[in-house]
Amino acid sequence: MASRRKLLLKIIILGDSGVGKTALMNQYVNKKFSNQYKATIGADFLTKEVMVDNRIVTLQIWDTAGQERFQSLGVAFYRGADGCILVFDTTSMNSFASLDAWRDEFLIQSSPKNTENFPFVVLGNKIDLENRAVSTKRAQKWCQTKNNIPYFETSAKEAVNVEQAFETIAKSAIALEKEEIYNDFPGDIILDRDNKPNNGAACNC
């Protein structure tokens, strides 16, 4: 066990149907974009190896169906998530209004150890379109009220800010993981965490 354990980060993308979750994932992993819309059924995932802070990390990115009838994916889907990407469509007020519900759904289903500092990012997608309905200011304001979630305005079509958004979530997921490892050491002075000592290996119980 001398070598540093390989790190796998599970990232979940949530948001209303049609906001571009699959397109964002495909742009990030495969550098591809298709204008054709095809509803995601249930869920799908892609993996990508990236270098973050001089460390090779495997991102397992889960794309979900925004449609209601596919939403009950069960705990296996959310279990062990390290980060969550909330997506809305900057041309659709409704999709922005749903962010609260998606965030709540995620926190309830995955019940992370650390609800306060759990890594989220919010993406306002489709900024390549002209009929904008949600202002930058408004989106930023919402993010501030939720413990300063980082906010990016993206275009999966034109590959704007996609890379940066995924990098940010990966970095904060790693930071959280590190924090949890440090909390393992005896004599730790941070007392406001769970009483039970936890490390990455035991997080699936």
């Binding site: 249930g42 705990v75 699936n204 119980c205």
Partner: protein, 296 residues
């Protein structure tokens, strides 16, 4: 047999044993040799998913998959082979089994030795393209990784106890969670139930030098490779070799799970299996009778 592990007297296992009968199907001239089969899910499906156990396992090690996926409308079958001493003999035996059961094309899930045999079978029948998809779990493409090929020719005469020790060496029980401990307990029981001939023949196939020729597998429509990021019997280079072979494979990594994630992380494994099989839903190659392919 004396069952002591938590899994063996869990309600889930009992429900499996009382709802899915164990059948023996004889496909060899020697009538003492039979495949042990559990068959779950709709009989109308003739392109099922067939599970092949690892060295230490019996057909019931997949009870969590058979119960859950069977209930969701997938035809799932676990098949444990009789004593075969070579890969070729195994492939012929497996072909006769699926012929007998009336399947022309199948999806295969294989763990460790089971995964290796699944690939060898896909290679064996490459001209008739009988393998639709492969789901490979903690497995390898080349037996030389075990560096036993010299002594493998003597396994047939080694006492059971020695063979069991060879297998159990890989079962790491330190620093793991309770699900993994339970999965190991259950597998040790399964290992104990195997005869000397069973175990010696499996280890022989596992260790006599042989490798998969991935070029012959290019016809397989979909490959998912599952592995765990915690401790398991296979080293990282071995796992990376298999990724290289299947460039287009889906990589279903688990953060942890040990050697037997289909037991210790069954709900996650089942989710990955559904995503794998869903590619074929609604086509003539589907392993399920679902019209609506939701994952719920």
């Amino acid at each position: 047999m004396n069952c002591v592990s938590d899994y063996a007297h869990s309600n889930e296992y009992n429900s499996f044993r009382s709802s899915v009968p164990l059948k023996t199907i004889i496909v060899d001239p020697d009538s003492s040799k039979g495949w042990k089969i559990y068959d779950s899910g709709p009989r109308s499906i003739s392109t099922p998913l067939i599970f092949l156990p690892p060295v230490s396992g019996t057909a019931d090690v997949y009870f969590k998959q058979l119960l859950s996926l069977g209930a969701k409308g997938y035809r799932v079958i676990s098949a444990e082979h009789p004593v075969y001493w070579s890969v070729r003999e195994w492939c012929e035996g497996f072909r006769r089994l699926i012929d007998y059961m009336g399947f022309y094309k199948v999806h295969i899930f294989g763990a460790s030795l089971g995964g290796f045999l699944a690939q060898k079978f896909a290679e064996h029948v490459s001209s008739s393209r009988r393998v639709i998809s492969l789901f490979l779990c903690n497995t390898f493409i080349d037996t030389s990784v075990f560096s036993y090929s010299e002594s493998a020719s003597l396994f047939w005469m080694l006492p059971s106890v020695v063979l069991k020790k060879m297998v159990m060496r890989n079962f790491n029980t330190s620093d793991v969670d309770s699900h993994i401990v339970d999965s190991i307990d259950f597998m040790v029981e399964k290992l104990d139930s195997l005869s000397q001939q069973d175990l010696a023949s499996r280890l022989t196939i596992n260790c006599v030098h042989s490798r998969v020729n991935p070029e012959k597998l290019s016809y397989v429509r979909m490959v998912t490779i599952m592995d765990v990021f915690d401790e398991c019997a296979l080293s990282t280079p071995v796992r990376e070799k298999i990724y290289d072979c299947y460039k287009n494979a889906k990589l279903a990594h688990l953060k942890s799970g040990g050697n037997f994630p289909y037991l210790s992380r069954s709900d996650e494994v089942n989710l990955f299996l559904q995503i794998h099989l869903r590619t074929f839903e609604g086509t003539y190659l589907s392993a399920s009778d679902n019209k609506d392919c939701s994952l719920s």
